[in-house]
């Protein structure tokens, strides 16, 4: 894990590549309390909901993936704020690239805060999920 004084504006967190498989989405929906068939797990239901590319990954599941990018970097309790916009439906079984870019560094109320823009993109440049995050890091 980096220390606060080791990071700079413009530094990138990631990128990491992830895939949400059919089985993982189905398992997530069970945990989430929305077991299938629904637009997340079933192609026919997704088509009826206007999803042309098949069933989609729940926004909350993409949020969990984004959170992993940050906690793998800053530590398990590092997230202060994660604020995401679900811009486009996210398909199953496709490579998803997650990355964040540091946009601000500040010390506030005794904490060393790192603010960043965070984005999940697809192989064709799709901007699936985007937003902002604030992470706290330790200082030397």
């Amino acid at each position: 894990m980096p220390y606060y004084d080791e990071v700079e504006l413009g530094d990138e967190i990631g990128p990491v590549e992830k895939v949400a498989t059919d089985d993982e989405v189905s398992n997530f929906c069970d945990v989430w309390g929305t077991p299938g068939p629904n637009r997340f797990t079933d192609a026919e239901t997704a088509a009826k909901s206007g999803m042309k590319g098949g069933p989609i990954v729940p926004g909350i599941m993409t949020m969990a993936m984004m959170a992993q990018l940050l906690t793998d970097w800053g530590g398990p309790g590092s997230i202060k704020d994660l604020d995401l916009v679900f811009r486009q439906p996210v398909p199953h079984n496709r490579a998803l690239t997650l990355a964040a870019t540091i946009t601000d560094l500040r010390e506030e109320d005794g904490e060393s805060l790192v603010e960043c823009d965070i984005l999940m993109t697809g192989t064709e440049g799709e901007r699936y999920v985007g937003g902002k995050a604030i992470v706290t890091l330790q200082s030397h």
């Binding site: 309390g33 909350i60 949020m63 959170a67 398990p76 994660l82 995401l84």
Partner: protein, 149 residues
């Protein structure tokens, strides 16, 4: 001129409660396995203690998963036909430990219209506070749902 929105304004100020949600090791295991979570502090007491916690903790988006279990009323927005999950925000405030019992309290935060290149959308925002068995706030979660013309 600002758009005059028609919806159930009487919902403002009402808290909708849910829980308790028992955060067992199994709850955390299932959340982890469904999202590929492999952070050591989320997997075991040993991993969490090594990271400075008193025991195993839940991943920071667990409350975002639980929030769906709060029964929220229809805001009755007279706009558009379809609603989609537009965004989510989480502000973790304190660790959620295996063995905790969480309660949730949700209220309507805002309803507003926004016009962009793809037309006008109306956003309904709910805010939920999760607290543990000691009354300590562990997370604030905001959910935003959009209705399109």
């Amino acid at each position: 001129m600002a758009m005059e929105l028609e919806y159930d304004r009487s919902l403002y100020g009402i808290e909708h409660k849910a829980g308790p949600f028992e955060i067992s090791n199994e709850t955390i295991d299932r959340a982890n396995s469904s999202t590929g979570e492999a952070g050591a502090a989320f997997l075991s007491d040993e991993g969490a203690i090594a990271a400075g916690y008193k025991g195993r903790i839940a991943p920071p988006t667990l409350c975002c998963i639980l929030v769906r279990q709060v029964a929220l009323p229809d805001v009755k927005v007279k706009f558009g036909k379809t609603s989609m999950h537009a965004g989510q925000r989480v502000e973790p405030k304190a660790p959620v430990y295996a063995g905790d019992q969480l309660t949730a309290s949700s209220h309507l935060k805002d309803v507003y219209a926004k016009t962009g290149r793809s037309g006008t959308m109306v956003f309904v925002v709910w805010e939920t506070t999760f607290s543990n068995q000691n009354g300590e706030v562990v997370a604030e979660v905001q959910e935003s749902f959009a209705r399109r013309e």
